[in-house]
Each structure stands twice: as structure tokens, then as C-alpha cells.
Amino acid sequence: MLGAVLLAILLSLALSTWSRQPAAAKVAEQPISFPHNVHVQQYKLDCKYCHTEARRSEYAGLPSVTRCMGCHKITAADRPEIQKLAAYAQRGEPIPWVRIYKMPEFTYFPHKAHVRADIKCQDCHGKVEEMTTVSATTGPQLANDLLHVAGMRPGAPPLSMGWCLACHREQNRTKKDMKAPLDCVACHH
């Protein structure tokens, strides 16, 4: 009886955490259907060519509309999606991209330090180069929580704390002179 009560409490609480922590939108309808695979595989663009801020800022950054137009003034200018882009550029409006990856407010995640440590973008973001539309399922998941409670040790879902930690520990173990912080306040302050 007591166990059932405890389990019920635990369930509701797990549910409550899960609903509280931000997880990203799944497949999202973007204002312009942007194919990462074409840009990366066909045109061999480096991630940081567009996401320029990643190496110097907390944020990876999105390319400005003028940067897009730098190529697309000529390249594929006749395609309907590119014409949408041109319209934004003409109006001087930013493109309202739908956000896929988001950290909770209480977590500090600097792209810069990760780029400096030679962590590949794909390590966290998955094989973006193969995606037409970027999507991800991130953040703590109820099923995972329950498996843990049941005594199993499933791999942590992306962008959950256990997942960050697994990689930090792995880096420290495998790479020389690597000091991926495991200090709480390094990310939570």
C-alpha cells in the first residue's frame, strides 16, 4: 500500500518536472524550408560559415539575411523558397525561425567553449548535414525517468543533464589535458 502511494507520488512528480523543463519543439514548420543537407553536402559549407557566432559567443547565432542573400542573389534565385528569402531581405525584416534547441533559463551553455574544445557540432545536434528540416527531441523525458526509477540505466536523452555529464566525463577520461567542468555552478549560476 505504502509502495503504491510512493509510486503514485513519484509518478506525479516526475510528470511535473518533465512538464516544467523546457524541451524543444519537434518537427517545426519553418518560415522558409531550409535544407541543411543541400548546403552542407552539396555545397560543402562549414557549419560556422553561417553560424558564425559559435566560436566567439555563448550563442551559435543565425546568419543575417544579408549573409543569406550574399549567395542567393544569384544562386537559385528563381526558386520559390529563395524568393521568400529575398522578400524578407527587401522588407528589411528578420526571418522568424522557429527555435529547435533551447536550454532552460537556469543553465548556462556557451557554444564558444565547446567549439574551442573541438567538440563537433554533430555531437550535440545530431547529423544535421543529413536533415532537410532540423528537428530534435530534447530535454528530460518521462519514460526515461520511469526506467531509471525501475532500476534500469537507459542512456540520457539529448540536452538533459545526465547527457551533458556523460559527455563531460567521457571527454575528461579520453582526452589529455581536457578539463570539462563537472562543477555545478559552471553551468548553473
Binding site: A28, W97, R116, V185
Partner: protein
């Protein structure tokens, strides 16, 4: 494309850490339309400008993140403040993001203000000017600005000339006209000199509150600390003569209480004693021929032996510095007093050494109060048809009650205010054309000769505002019918005017000057000759009941003349001496309080011939028994009132003080002083009556008595010198059974020099700004629920009438053996391997056990969900979590700055070196009382100081082993608590 246009399109939602995250509608991220090399999202950029919260004109660096200013710091290159900033400067962000800022131009329709389009507003003004000019009545136009001695002033003067108006009035409520008048009389210079506190050995101040507001409080506090703070055995002496124990007085080695208005007598008596002792120029003997020291002692309430002691101390100084003319002691006697002080300086050879004419203060260019009073009379007489009032000009609040400005303003056909937020004067205005905030504007300001600070927009205007200069250029062009590029005002905008003004001065170096924040050069002191004219130190003329109390209306170091009162950080920043927040009070002498039967918080009616105020009493054991004191500048802060509706969660923490007048200036008569044209702030006697009502003050500190707990520790000057020679550390470690903790990398620590701390509270506000610390309102603060991570405590020792005070900045001590940590059930509090007490907000459950177990009580609990009324949330530091309700928080030693500093060092492939990382409190401290650094680095300043002989830990007998080390206050032998001479009865 220039930067301002860029700001308009830069909109990233990614950085707004304002509200707790939750799932919901898909979040949008908006990239830039055009990339910008100056601003990288996620990386701060810094823009130099000049602080305009008071005429001191300190240099400011604004930290801009994603297009919005989130923090202000002093400009380290600026010669006035050298990186430091006072509390008001720190809180300027809250006037920038003031929720009540006008959304755009407003026009009065009936009693209400209605929004109008800029074109309509400008047209209304243009039409009025045009009509007046056509009627040949240009003199019916008056322009009033604050002290503007740079481009804006020049533009205003050109405009006034072109429109044929009256001469512009540069109105500052604190004008120090008496100082100028006395300098005219003695040195034949109509100027306010530079006071080199740093070069003085003894400072003798006659009511000059230079730690609070006097002329240039950051510069002088800095200079004072360099002269006074104990360093390698060297230190100066500071003697302060004032009828009440102000914050400045509390910092004096010797505070001498005199009867109000007798400063001049004391100065003359000291001069006489010096001349008699042969320590001063005998040429000045005739000036003091009539002075009878014994009589002075009787009139001023300063005993003869005290006077002799002062004279002896001052006579030995090579050089000394005598200053006077604080606003609170400016009365009809002020010119005589300051003349006496000038003579004292001249006779002891300080002029040219510590009193330097040449680098004169901008205050010398203030329009004397007499002219302002004359303008008001002209208004009342119906001579003024159009009154233009610049930003920070609030005569309805700052002019004395006797002047009846509001009545006069009602006689004016059109009152136009350029203020960007509502105040007592905009309530009278017919048209409001909001100027941009100084953080959003171009301009320049010269705080003293040789120093010109350049102002640039640090962000785009957050509200629909337009530079005052631009508006006036437009009006002028419309009135004159001239095209752009032609006529007396050919510039398209004020920005263009500023650039045109600077073009000849800087030429191609514009960018570098902009980055530096201005241009400065040393100005050599001018040689001046002193006229030893005899002085008749008469007492001040006081209106009102002869049996009443002399009213001291003194400038608040929190709000200046009231212009900073819109900042809630300042409202909740305690007045260091009383530790009261939010509300104003009347300081009532103990005996009088007993007679009236009032205790702290009882409302007292204060009546003068010109008005009455009802204020809660603060019973003081230190103030002159025939005097009461009220701070100037306490104003009502409308946005803290609940907007209505039943949303307790948001409205409850914001409780405003009672919406009645708290302005002691309203009690003054306002007849200008004949000799100087100054406003006699010391000019009325008031009567007190008990009303029977209560309005309890929110006083944050429970007691000023340490109860022998040695929180603040003293060391006599002599022993401090001996110890400094001998070396060795003052710390004694409490033994432990456990081995010492090892720190693999850095170990962060701090030192606080109690001897250097002046109690100015700048650090407290800097901390609040840096760390997203919310304010809680008066009622909650009164109940001990304030959230300050850093507080300045005042501890008093000695007698109640003449206590010695020490100021103790208290924040998380980052104990090595921290009592807070093991009691936390979830490891939300733990020790990092770099020696910090980490607090993980998202892990905290809110058991508050740590808060109980912290012997220093520095942990703060989020009792409510504290809201930041829009747009104040824009100011929030994106690097720091905004805490949710129900969790503990505390000082983190600015861990976000530590992380950023380590990151920078790693970019340069090195380790952090001393000075790389500064905490917010350390950065802004004018006196350098706070040091932060790596305790494992043997060469770092913090290591050196923590091994100082003066070092101690607060409550060290508990064995908490704090990482914060305090340095004992050095007291002059005669002033040591418990020694005769400090007035131990």
C-alpha cells in the same frame, strides 16, 4: 549603416532570461537583417559615455548585450572617477528603463495628458514660438536646462539667440553659489576650485558632505580614501564640523558637533589659534582680530580644548585642506563662513597645493539661484508666455515652497517639458516632448576644466523619444523657415551638431576619442592671491518660530535632488546612517522626542512659515538638540503601486511609500541670499507636533550595537603602524581535526578594508544591478525580507551622543567550513573546487535550513515571485539566472564574471592573472576597499592583503574559515573607543 539603425533591427529573444521558462508556443529566434561587427549576440560590447545623474560628470562604460544596456561601470580612463561609480550612477539604468517613461510626446487636454504625434507636438511648440516672435515678444520665452556646459549648452544658447529669447537658465538646485561668492571675495575668482583631498594630510571640513553629494562625490571620496585609508603605515586625519552626524561626519576621525550656522566662527577661531601658535601666516591676523575663542566656544558649542585640538592637528598638516559649503549648511551666513574657510586655507598655505584654481568645477557655470527666483517672479507676473524645461529640471519639486513655482507656472501660457519621465513639473506642463535618456543620447560634458567627456548612445531609445537638441533645431528651422544646411541652425540633428562641434577638436581621432570617452589634459593650478579681508561671521537668518528647531534640509546621497528617486534600487538601498529604506523621515533629537512623546515611526508634523510636512520620526542621539534634519530628494515612485486587479503575486512585493510630500524644500522660504544669490537651505526654524499616527520606518539593521561580538574590529594607529612594520598575519586559524581542503586550480577570495569603506553603498547597488537582485518594497523590507546580497552595516561604538562608526560590507563569506552546506538536503549549497560556496538555484527546494545556519545571515530567500515591471526586465543580466520563488540565493562572488574571466584567459592560452576578474562591488568601489583574486597566487593583491597584520575574519571563533578577509579599521589613538578624548562622559 550606422549603429543606431542597426539596433532597431537587432532583436534576439534568446538572451532574455527574464521569465521562468516553460513550454508553450514555439519560440522564435530572429537573426539580424544586416550583420554588425560591433555587436555579437551573446558577447557584451562596451560604450563610453558620461554619467548625467548629477553635475559631477563621471565617465561611464555601458555594458551592452544584444543591443540593450545591462550594466554601468565607471570608465577607468576618466580622470574624475577612474572606474568607480556611486550608487546613483549605478542605478541610472533604472531611470533609463523606468516603467513610467513617456511613451512619446504628450499634450495636456484638460487634466489628462494625451499622446500626440511628434509632428503635432513639434508643431504646437513651433506655432507658439512663431506667434511670440511675430508679436515681438521673444523675451517671453524662457529656456531652463540643467547644467549643460558642452554642445547641448552651446546649441541651447544659439537657439535662444536665434529665437531672441531670454538668456538660458542653467538650473541646478545645488549650485554652490556661496563658494563662488567667497572665492570672488578672497581670491577674486568666480570659480569652484579642485580640492586635492589625495594630497592633504589633514582634511578639515565644515559641513562639506563630500562623501555624499558635495561637488564631485566619487572623485572626492576616492581622493579622500587615498589620503585617509591606512596603507603601509601612512594615513591622514579627517576632522568634520557639522551639527548632525551625516555619513561624511561618520567617516571623520573626529566629528565635531556645532550649533548650526557657526561653522564660520569655528573656522575663524581655528585660524586665530593657528596664528597665535605661529602655524599660519601672520598676514591674516587682522582678519581674526575680533575673534574671541572663548566666545566662539560658547556660541558654537565646541569647547575650547576641542578648538585647540583641531588647530593643532590642522597646523601640523603639510598641506591640509579646509572645505566647506555643503548644501545643508548653506544659509545667509554661508559666504562669510566660506570666506573664513578660504582664509584658513590661504593662511596655512594650502591654496595652490590642495585648493587648486585652474581645473575649476563645472558648478561654477550654474545660473545662480537668485536668477531662477527672478524668473519665477517674472512667470508669476505673467511676463513669460513660453517656458521650456529640460530633462532633470524639476522646479516644482526642487524650488522652495516660498517661491510658489506651481502658482507661477499656471500663469505661463505654455509650459513645455522635455523630461522623459513624469515628475512634479511635468504635471504642470502643457506639452511634453520627451528627450532621450542620457544613455541613449549624443553629447558631451565637462565636469572640470581640462576634462571633456564625450557622450554617445549606448543603445537605441527604448521609448519613442527624440533628442532635445534635435527637436529644438527642427523648431528653429520651422520658425525661421530655413532649410537644412542653412541659417543659424543648419544641422540636421543634434548628433550632427555634436560632431561638428568636435570636428575641430579631434579631427580624425573621433573613433579613438569616442572609445576613450572624451579628452582630458592636466590643467596647471593658477596662481591666486588671497585678500585677508576681515570676516564678520554672523549667524544665519532663520525664519519662523524663534523657539522652534533649526531645520537642516540636506541632500540625500541616495536621490541627489530627487532626480534619481525613480530608481527602485536606490529606494531600497538603505541610508547608511539610519539604515532606513524607501520612506523619508525627520531626524528628531532625543530630548525633543522625549518631550514630544514620539519614538521612531511616529508621524510628526513639521511646520514652517512656508508649509508643513508629515513625516515619521527617526530619533537621533547625535543631532544638535535644537535642530531637526530631513533629507531632500525623497519622492514618490508611482510605478510601484499595483496596477489594480487581483494579481497578488505581482503587485504585492511592490509597495510604495505613502504618496504624501516628503520634500523639506517645500518648507523653505526661498529668499535668495544677498551676498551670493544662493538658495538658503539653512533658513527656517520649524515647530514639531505629534500627530498620533504611525508610519513605521523600514530600518534594515536591527541594532547598531555589536554586543561585544567584534564584527568590526579596530586597531590603534600606533599599533597598526608597528604591526605594519613587523609584518606577519593577524589571522589565527581555528584548529580542525580534518585536513585542509586542497584546491587543484584557483582559490578565489576577497578582502575588505574596513578602514577604507566609507559606507557609500555603491557596491550594494552594483551588486543588485549585476546579479538581477529584485527589490521587495517597503513593507517587506521592514519585515526583514530584503534580498540584497551585499549590505553595508553601520556599527557604532562609544557614547550614544558621539559614536565612532565603522562600516562593514557584509556578503557571503564563502566559508571553507561552511555551516550552510552540510545541512542542505539536496547539495544545492556545496563548495566548489575553486573555493566558492556554490548555490545551485535549480536544485534548491527551499527548506531554508542554510539560511538559519548561516551565522552571517547573508542568505536571501525568494518569499515571492518578484516581478520586474516592464521594461525593467530588459536590464536583467543575461549571464545570471533570475531566481524563481521559493529558493535561496546569495552572493556568488560574481561567478559569471569568474567564468568569463577564465574563458578570456583560456582564449589567450594562459591562466587568470591578478586583475583579470573584478567583482561588481569591487569594480565600483571609489575607495578600493574591496579586493578580489586568487588566494593561491602568492603575488596577488588579495593574498598579500589577507596576510596583512590587520586581517581578521568576522566571527572567526566559529571556525567557519571564510574566504573573505577583513582588514581592521585603524582608529586614531585619541579617537579609540573607550579612550578619553572621544567624549566618554
Amino acid at each position: 549603416m550606422n549603429r543606431r539603425d542597426f539596433f532597431k533591427v537587432l532583436t534576439t529573444t534568446t538572451a532574455a532570461a527574464a521569465t521562468a521558462g516553460c513550454q508553450g508556443a514555439a519560440e522564435k529566434i530572429l537573426p539580424l537583417v544586416v550583420p554588425n561587427e560591433q555587436v555579437v549576440p551573446g558577447v557584451a560590447s562596451w560604450f563610453a559615455t558620461v554619467c548625467r545623474e548629477c553635475p559631477a560628470g563621471c565617465g561611464v562604460l555601458a555594458r551592452n548585450r544584444e543591443g540593450r544596456v545591462v550594466k554601468l561601470e565607471g570608465n577607468p580612463d576618466h580622470p574624475v572617477n577612474r572606474g568607480a561609480l556611486c550608487a546613483r550612477g549605478q542605478a541610472a539604468l533604472q531611470t533609463l528603463y523606468h516603467p513610467d517613461r513617456f511613451a512619446g510626446p504628450q499634450r495636456r487636454e484638460g487634466n489628462a495628458l494625451r499622446s500626440v504625434a511628434w509632428e503635432d507636438g513639434v508643431k504646437a511648440l513651433t506655432d507658439t514660438v512663431l506667434a511670440l516672435r511675430q508679436a515681438g515678444n521673444g523675451k517671453a520665452i524662457a529656456v531652463v536646462s540643467q547644467l549643460e556646459n558642452g554642445s547641448l549648452g552651446a546649441l541651447l544658447d544659439r537657439w535662444a539667440q536665434a529665437m531672441g529669447t531670454r538668456p538660458r537658465v542653467a538650473f541646478e538646485p545645488y549650485g554652490y553659489e556661496a563658494v563662488r561668492a567667497a572665492n570672488r571675495a578672497v581670491f577674486n575668482r568666480d570659480a569652484i576650485p579642485y580640492h586635492a583631498f589625495e594630497d592633504a594630510e589633514v582634511v578639515l571640513s565644515f559641513g562639506a558632505d563630500f562623501i555624499e553629494t558635495w561637488i564631485s562625490n566619487v572623485a572626492y571620496a576616492r581622493g579622500f580614501a587615498r589620503m585617509h585609508a591606512f596603507k603601509e603605515g601612512r594615513t591622514g586625519t579627517f576632522i568634520h564640523v557639522e551639527p548632525r552626524q551625516s555619513l561624511t561626519a561618520a567617516n571623520a576621525d573626529e566629528w565635531v558637533r556645532n550649533v548650526p550656522g557657526t561653522e564660520g566662527l569655528v573656522a575663524l577661531a581655528v585660524l586665530k589659534l593657528l596664528i597665535e601658535a605661529g602655524a599660519a601666516d601672520r598676514a591674516f591676523a587682522p582678519a581674526v582680530a575680533n575673534v574671541d575663542v572663548a566666545k566662539v566656544a560658547e556660541t558654537s558649542g565646541v569647547p575650547v580644548d576641542r578648538l585647540e585640538h583641531i588647530a593643532e592637528a590642522f597646523g601640523h598638516a603639510k598641506p591640509g585642506l579646509a572645505v566647506g559649503g555643503g548644501v545643508a549648511v548653506t544659509g545667509s551666513h554661508a559666504v562669510a563662513t566660506l570666506t573664513a574657510i578660504n582664509l584658513l586655507n590661504a593662511a596655512t598655505g594650502n591654496v595652490g597645493k590642495t585648493v587648486r584654481f585652474g581645473p575649476d568645477s563645472a558648478y561654477g557655470k550654474v545660473t545662480p539661484y537668485a536668477d531662477v527666483a527672478a524668473l519665477t517672479r517674472a512667470m508669476a507676473a505673467g511676463e513669460i508666455e513660453l517656458l521650456l524645461l529640460g530633462p532633470n529640471v524639476n522646479p516644482a519639486f526642487t524650488l522652495p515652497g516660498g517661491v510658489k513655482f506651481a502658482d507661477a507656472a499656471r500663469k505661463v501660457g505654455m509650459v513645455v517639458s522635455f523630461s522623459n519621465q513624469p515628475n512634479e513639473t511635468t504635471a504642470l506642463a502643457h506639452l511634453i516632448l520627451p528627450d532621450v535618456h542620457w544613455l541613449e543620447s549624443w553629447g558631451d560634458y565637462s565636469p572640470r576644466e581640462g576634462v571633456v567627456g564625450l557622450m554617445q548612445p549606448t543603445m537605441s531609445p527604448i521609448r519613442d523619444a527624440r533628442a532635445w537638441g534635435t527637436t529644438l533645431i527642427q523648431v528653429a528651422r520651422a520658425v525661421l523657415g530655413s532649410e537644412e544646411g542653412k541659417g543659424p541652425l543648419p544641422w540636421p540633428s543634434f548628433e550632427a551638431f555634436v560632431r561638428a562641434e568636435w570636428e575641430p577638436r579631434v579631427g580624425p581621432n573621433w573613433g579613438a576619442v569616442l572609445q576613450q570617452g572624451g579628452v582630458w589634459k592636466d590643467v596647471a593650478p593658477a596662481a591666486v592671491a588671497a585678500k585677508p579681508a576681515p570676516v564678520d561671521a554672523v549667524p544665519p537668518e532663520l525664519e519662523g518660530d524663534a523657539n522652534g528647531f533649526t531645520l537642516i534640509a540636506y541632500p540625500s546621497f541616495r536621490f541627489y535632488d530627487g532626480r534619481s528617486a525613480g530608481a527602485s534600487w536606490l529606494q531600497e538601498m538603505p541610508d547608511t546612517m539610519t539604515q532606513a529604506v524607501w520612506d523619508a523621515w525627520v531626524e528628531v533629537p532625543e530630548d525633543a522626542a522625549k518631550r514630544l512623546g514620539v519614538s521612531r515611526g511616529d508621524v510628526v508634523r513639521v511646520s514652517s512659515p512656508h508649509g508643513t510636512l508629515e513625516l515619521p520620526a527617526y530619533v537621533s542621539s547625535t543631532i544638535d538638540p535644537k535642530t531637526v534634519a530631513i533629507p531632500i530628494g525623497h519622492r514618490y515612485v508611482p510605478y510601484h503601486v499595483a496596477a489594480g486587479g487581483f494579481n497578488m503575486r505581482e503587485s504585492r512585493p511592490y509597495v510604495a511609500p505613502a504618496p504624501t510630500s516628503m520634500n523639506p524644500v517645500a518648507l523653505l522660504g526661498g529668499t535668495p541670499d544677498q551676498a551670493s544669490g544662493a538658495l538658503p537651505y539653512l533658513g527656517v526654524r520649524v515647530t514639531l507636533t505629534k500627530t498620533g499616527a504611525r508610519r513605521p520606518l523600514a530600518v534594515l539593521q536591527a541594532t547598531h550595537d555589536q554586543d561585544d561580538r567584534e564584527l568590526v574590529r579596530h586597531v590603534g594607529l600606533k599599533s597598526a603602524r608597528e604591526q605594519a612594520l613587523r609584518g606577519g598575519t593577524g589571522l589565527h586559524q581555528v584548529p580542525s581535526l580534518y585536513p585542509d581542503q586542497q584546491y587543484p586550480g584557483y582559490r578565489w577570495g576577497m578582502t575588505v578594508d574596513v578602514d577604507a569603506c566609507l559606507g557609500c553603498q555603491a557596491c550594494a547597488v552594483a551588486c543588485q544591478a549585476e546579479n538581477n537582485v529584485p527589490i521587495v518594497g517597503k513593507a517587506q523590507a521592514a519585515y526583514g525580507r530584503q534580498l540584497h546580497w551585499l549590505r553595508i552595516e553601520r556599527w557604532a561604538e562609544g557614547t550614544a551622543a558621539e559614536p565612532g562608526n565603522a562600516f562593514l560590507p557584509m556578503f557571503c563569506q564563502h566559508c571553507e567550513v561552511a555551516p550552510c552546506e552540510p545541512v542542505c538536503p539536496v547539495f544545492a549549497a556545496y563548495r566548489t573546487e575553486e573555493g566558492l560556496n556554490g548555490q545551485v538555484y535549480n536544485r534548491c527546494v527551499g527548506t531554508r535550513y542554510c539560511g538559519n545556519n548561516c551565522p552571517y545571515h547573508v542568505r536571501r530567500f525568494n518569499w515571492y515571485l518578484y516581478e520586474f515591471p516592464s521594461p525593467l526586465e530588459v536590464q536583467l543580466n543575461p549571464d545570471v539566472t533570475v531566481r524563481q520563488l521559493g529558493i535561496m540565493e546569495k552572493c556568488t562572488m560574481c561567478v559569471q564574471r569568474i567564468i568569463a574571466g577564465k574563458d578570456r584567459a583560456r582564449d589567450e592560452k594562459r591562466t587568470v592573472k591578478d586583475g583579470d576578474i573584478m567583482t561588481a562591488c569591487q569594480q565600483t568601489c571609489p575607495t578600493g576597499a574591496i579586493t578580489f583574486g586568487n588566494l593561491k597566487d602568492e603575488g596577488s593583491q588579495v593574498t598579500e592583503l589577507s596576510h596583512s597584520p590587520r586581517a581578521y575574519h568576522v566571527l572567526d571563533e566559529l571556525g567557519t574559515r571564510p574566504s573573505v578577509t577583513y582588514l581592521k579599521k585603524v582608529v586614531r589613538e585619541h579617537a579609540e573607543p573607550g579612550r578619553p578624548g572621544r567624549g566618554h562622559a
